[in-house]
Structures are given as structure tokens and as C-alpha cells.
């Protein structure tokens, strides 16, 4: 439960990183009434703060709390896999202070009353901010648009059919036109549904050797290119929830160069893993879209470094033993990721592909900009959503130690570096491992 805290908290001796303003310097930060009251390199230099709560950051990074733009939970309908409460606990321990939750639940979030329900449940049970993404079409059937105006008024931050593409261009065209009327953000899943029907992997030598039903990687770029044409026609704000191929990256780069209102994200697993990581049918590494070739994975890293890819997301998708302990083709796709998002993203900084502030921008200021949020910044007056990060702390991903109710991590056994040590939402500590 998030409540504005009236107390003052003084963070001193921190390495302040605020991608929104470009700040990367030693300094202090003062929280008051749940908001950032003061921040800067000279804060608390001259005198020790005499606040009731003083936190000596000992040189650790103090950054805006992470915003994860793509999270699937099981609430409502599959709480045994993940509830808002359990997802938010995982989020808090991963340094994530806001999560955009996808509408692919049971029932589907396609009614204003269901957005209201989610927000009430989140207020009652979740440790972090829950930002509902409503369905773009009723029942996610891709046929008739939802009540975008009423849903937006109810609190939906974006509109998407989650992990489904809208195959019908006429439907998408009208939905985008209508969304543009309300300046609503539409999030796409770009995979041609017919080309990818029943596919579990990316077509190529590896999938052929394993004998897994596979779809060509171009199934993604085809939809990205089509959607960009429709964005140009309609003027809607469009965000590709995740891209995974160089061809899609190039299409987005070209659209941005033409000034179209297009943004995109990449999932942590598409940055870190390639198709070969499926190894001997590891279903925990079956994700949607499927893992790609090494060349495509490298293109994703390049995309983050160049800034064409705006955000890195977890694509947190809880699955249970029932859905994952299956032959590869029959197993459900998806990996949990809220707790590994930071470590996976930071690998780009550790490997020298991007600077620390650049990586943090993809997790804070960039998502805040895409969704029009007041968070994702250390600016004075902003909500005190903060994460204290030890960027160098090494750890081995152990599914048994995850806070998430589901344990299906694609990173099991993987060595990562960089963890949240404490997380604050609206000035309230929601995770503390100092």
C-alpha cells in the first residue's frame, strides 16, 4: 500500500544519477511528504542533516525508481501464478517502483470498471505503483475497439492487446485514429499472427536441428513496417512494446528519422540471450517473440547504445509448472523478469556498450516520457520514487530466491552484476537490503 509519508528522509553521500537532467554527481537528496524536496551535489555538504531518518548511501547510486513498461500479472484470474501483491514485492526488490500491467488477464481489462478494480486492488495490496494498460480491442479479439476515452478517464495509461498483434489493418487503422483523438498511447506487439501461428522459435538452423515449429524473424519487421504506415496515416502515438530484430530496429529508426511519434522497447532477455540459449529444450527460455539469432541480439544492444531503442523492459510473464513443464512446443511462453531487469540492463554498462546513466535512462526517464509520468526523475517536487543501487554487486540468479510467486526465469544460473539495495515509493521504503 502506497501512502504519502509525512516524515523527512535525508540521503547523503550518494552518487546521484538523474538521466532526466543528465546529473551524475556525488551529493544528497531530501525527501519530504513523499516528494523530492531538495537534491544536489552540495546538499548536506556543509552540515550533517538533522532529520529523523538519515541514510548514508556510502557512495552507492541513488537514481529514480525504475519504470517497467511491460509486466504481465495473473490478477485478476490467475492469482496462483502472480498477484499484484506478489508482482509488486518482486518489483520492489528489483528496484522497480512503477509497473505498467498488461490487460491479458481473466477477465481482460477492456472495461472502465476493470481499470478501476485494478487501481483499487493495487492501492490495497501493491507495494509499487501499478499503471494499468487497457485492451485496445474488446476481449483482445482484434475486432472492435474499446472505450478508449472512458478507459483513459478511469486511469488507463496506454492501450494494447498485450502479447497479441492486431491482424486486421482496418481495425488497427480505426483504433489508431480513435486513439489519436484522445492523444492515447497505443502499445503494439509486432508479430504477424498467421506467419507465427504455432511457432515456438525463430526459423533457422538451430530450430531445424531441434525440430521445433518455427517462424521467420521477418514476421516482426513486417508488422512494424505496416504499423508505422498506419501511424503516419493516423498520427497516433505508438510504442512497440518490444522489438527483437535488426530489421525491426531499422524500421523504427527510419520512422523516428521521419519524425513519426514512434517509440520502442526491448526486453532484458532479448538483450542477453539468443536462440542457442534454448539449449536442450529449456522451456523457461521460451519467450514471445522467440529468442533470436546472435546477430539480432547484438543489434538490440546496438539499438540501446544508439538510443533508437527507448526503453528496456522485463516482459515479466509468470508461468507455473503446469504451463512450463511441457514439451517445448506445448509449453507456454514467458519469463519472469522484474527482479533481473536492473542486473540484465546494467550488463550493457559493465560490458562497455553504454554508459551507466544511459542504461538508467532506458529504465527511468525514457519510460516516464513515453507514458507521460511525473516519476522517473530526481527533480525537485517529483514523487520520491527512488532506488539505491550497488551497480557492481555480483550475484547468481537463483529462481528459489525470487520474490515473485512464479519462478520461471530465463536467467536461472546466470551471473549478473548490479542490484537494488533499497527501494522507495512516494518516500516510503518498500524494499531494504542495505
Amino acid at each position: 500500500m502506497i501512502s504519502a509519508r509525512s516524515g523527512r528522509i535525508a540521503f547523503r553521500n550518494a552518487r546521484l544519477i538523474d538521466p532526466a537532467s543528465g546529473l551524475d554527481a556525488k551529493g544528497g537528496l531530501l525527501v519530504e511528504n513523499g516528494r523530492i524536496a531538495d537534491v544536489g551535489p552540495r546538499l548536506f555538504n556543509d552540515a550533517e542533516p538533522n532529520d529523523p531518518e538519515v541514510i548514508d548511501c556510502r557512495g552507492l547510486v541513488l537514481a529514480p525508481g525504475l519504470i517497467d513498461c511491460r509486466v504481465f500479472t495473473g490478477e485478476p484470474g490467475a492469482e496462483h501464478r502472480e498477484s499484484l501483491e506478489s508482482a509488486s514485492t518482486a518489483a520492489a526488490s528489483g528496484g522497480v517502483t512503477s509497473m505498467v500491467v498488461m490487460p491479458n488477464t481473466d477477465p481482460v481489462i477492456d472495461e472502465p470498471s476493470l481499470v478501476d478494480f485494478l487501481l483499487r486492488r493495487a492501492a490495497a495490496t501493491a507495494k509499487v505503483r501499478v499503471l494499468p494498460c487497457a485492451a485496445l480491442t474488446r476481449g483482445l479479439h482484434g475486432e472492435t475497439m474499446t472505450e478508449i476515452g472512458l478507459l483513459k478517464e478511469a486511469g488507463a495509461v496506454a492501450f494494447s492487446d498485450g502479447d497479441r498483434s492486431i491482424a486486421n489493418a482496418r481495425v488497427l487503422r480505426r483504433a489508431l485514429s480513435y486513439a489519436a483523438t484522445f492523444d492515447a498511447l497505443v502499445i503494439a506487439h509486432a508479430e504477424d499472427p498467421e506467419l507465427t501461428l504455432n511457432a515456438s522459435a525463430t526459423e533457422g538452423e538451430f530450430a531445424t536441428r531441434l525440430g521445433i515449429p518455427a517462424a521467420p524473424a521477418i514476421a516482426e519487421a513486417m508488422m512494424v513496417e505496416r504499423d508505422i504506415r498506419l501511424v503516419e496515416l493516423t498520427g497516433a502515438r505508438y510504442h512497440f512494446g518490444q522489438i527483437s530484430t535488426r530489421a525491426a530496429l531499422n524500421a523504427v529508426a527510419a520512422a523516428k528519422a521521419r519524425g513519426l511519434p514512434v517509440t520502442c522497447a526491448v526486453s532484458a532477455h532479448h538483450l542477453m540471450l539468443n536462440e542457442l540459449d534454448v539449449g536442450s529444450y529449456l522451456t523457461f527460455r521460451k519467450v514471445s517473440p522467440p529468442l533470436r539469432s546472435e546477430a539480432d541480439r547484438a543489434a538490440m544492444v546496438e539499438g540501446v547504445a544508439s538510443g533508437v531503442i527507448d526503453a528496456i523492459v522485463s516482459s515479466h510473464e509468470p508461468q507455473g509448472a503446469d504451463t512450463k513443464r511441457q514439451p517445448f512446443a506445448a509449453a507456454a511462453a514467458g519469463s519472469v523478469g522484474l527482479e533481473t531487469l536492473l542486473g540484465a540492463a546494467l550488463s550493457l554498462a559493465h560490458e562497455g556498450h553504454a554508459s551507466l546513466i544511459q542504461v538508467l535512462a532506458t529504465l527511468t526517464s525514457a519510460p516516464a516520457h513515453i507514458f507521460g509520468l511525473p516519476t522517473g526523475t530526481l527533480a525537485k517536487g517529483a514523487p520520491a520514487d527512488l532506488v539505491l543501487i550497488d551497480p557492481g554487486e555480483p550475484f547468481v540468479v537463483d529462481a528459489e530466491k525470487l520474490h515473485s510467486r512464479a519462478r520461471n526465469t530465463a536467467f536461472e544460473g546466470r551471473k549478473l552484476q548490479g542490484r537494488a539495495r533499497a527501494t522507495y515509493v512516494g518516500g516510503e521504503c518498500v524494499f531494504d537490503a542495505r
Binding site: 474499446t146 472505450e147 478508449i148 480505426r174
Partner: protein, 315 residues
Amino acid sequence: MTSPDAAPILKSSHLLGIDGLSPFDITALLDLAETYVMQGRATDKKTALLKGRTLINLFFEASTRTQSSFELAGKRLGADVMNMSVKTSSVSKGETLIDTASTLNAMRPDILVVRHQDAGAAELLSRKLDCSVINAGDGAHEHPTQALLDALTIRRRLGHFEGLVVAICGDVLHSRVARSNLRLLSMMGAQVRLVAPRTLLPADADRFGVEIHTDMKSGLAGADIVMMLRLQLERMSGAFVPSAREYFRFYGLDRAKLAVAKPGALVMHPGPMNRGVEIASDIADDVQVSLISEQVEMGVAIRMAILDALSRRLP
């Protein structure tokens, strides 16, 4: 009272659209219609101006309102009026229309009033028939008699068009009423605004010299006239608009939205209304602001004027 040998008003023997009329034609028709308003309010509403003439109402689309208005107009002028309702099979529309035209031609009507679901149908008939053709609505193209009756209603209330701000709101995309009205009102010097969600705005609507608004608050701000359009049922269930309740919330005319218009702003609707979808009942029924009943009365008068004007060009 005009007589059969009165001076011609229109250059054409057909009325296919507002396109093709000049401001002088429109003013002359409105002036003539004023005399028929008086005639319609008299005890004896009937003259013999069109005695012996045959008027055929050919309706490929059901329309009680327009058809009865033309029927009454024709009868009050003494013409013999025949109503034909034709249900077409979509497969052979073109063929059927031409066939129907030659059949009708053989009946030797003097004036044919035609309503058709396809744009250009009235024009096609005008080329095939020897009589005068009046377009009573063709697809999403034109509905000139509606625009003229709206103009008559506005002029009788406000006295002029020059500088009036008229907000046309709703399903502009599919609306022949909107197209005819924006042509007429722009031509007469009014400032027209189109207000609709983007799904209901036609492409390049801004090329018509009108203001485009997707928000009722900005679209209605300072408007003298708010003209609501009908939203067809099949268009409010997800294809163009997600639901009737959402449409009413954002685009339905209620007191709150009307409050931003000019004080004393008048409300029009071509009918039939969807109460609670595009217009709140309390506004539709408020005689202080609603011109909806007056529009119906003016409809008969303007159609009498049009029949009169066209008959002056008949042999």
C-alpha cells in the same frame, strides 16, 4: 403567389447538389420559400401551381421524413404524387438503376425525387431521364434540400449567414447532410467547424475551408449554431466509435457542452434523433434552443419552393 410563367430562378432543370448553385440561387430559393411558409400556415394550404404535373418519389433507402415532406410539398402545389420504394440487390445495383430509370421515363413524370444509398445515383438518373431530378440524398455525397431547409431555418432566426459560427458535430464521414451544409454555409459566408472523433472525419476535411475540431469544448466555443448529426447504430459498436455511452460522454450534446457555445446558441438536428447518443433529450425538447421542429416545417416550405423553381423550367 407565384405563377407558372414567373421568371426562372435556377439555371439547371435538376437539383443535384449545393455544388452548382450560386449564392444568388440560394437566396432566391430561400426568398421563394418564405411565401410557402405562409401558405403552409394558412387554412387552405393548397394551390394549383403544379396541377396536372406528376411527381415521383423514388426511394431506394427508407426515409419517412424526407419522403413525406416531398409528398406533402407536391400535394400542396397540386401535383399528382406517386411514392416508389425500391429494395435493391447489391449485386446488380447499376443495372437495376438504369432499368428503373427507363421504366420510369416511360411513365412520363415531370419531376423525380430520388434517394439512393450510392453517391452519384441522382446524377446518373438525371442523365437518363427527360424529367427534372431532385437529389433527396445520394450516399455520403449530397442532400441539398436538407441544407436548404437548414439555411431557411437559420436565416429566419438570425437573419443572415455572414460571420455565423456553425459547428457541425458527429458522423461527418458518412454524412451527406454535413457535406451539403458545409458547402452551402461556407458559400454564404458562415464559418463552419467540423467536430468529431478522428474516425468520423473524412480525409482532407481541412481542405474545405473549415475548422476541424476533435474536442466538443473547443469546437463549440462561441458557436451560434450547433448542428448535430445522426450516428447510425451500426457505427457505434466498435467499428468507428467504441460504444454509444462513450460517444455520448465525449460527443453527445448535453448542457455542459452546450454551455461553451455562444449564449442563446441554437441547436439543429436533421433527424431522426438518437436520444442519449448524439443529443440529450432535455436539449432536443427545449424549444428555447432546439430548432428541430422548425426544421421539419421549413422542410416542406423549401421543397415547395424547389418544386416551384424547377417547374418553371419544365416544358
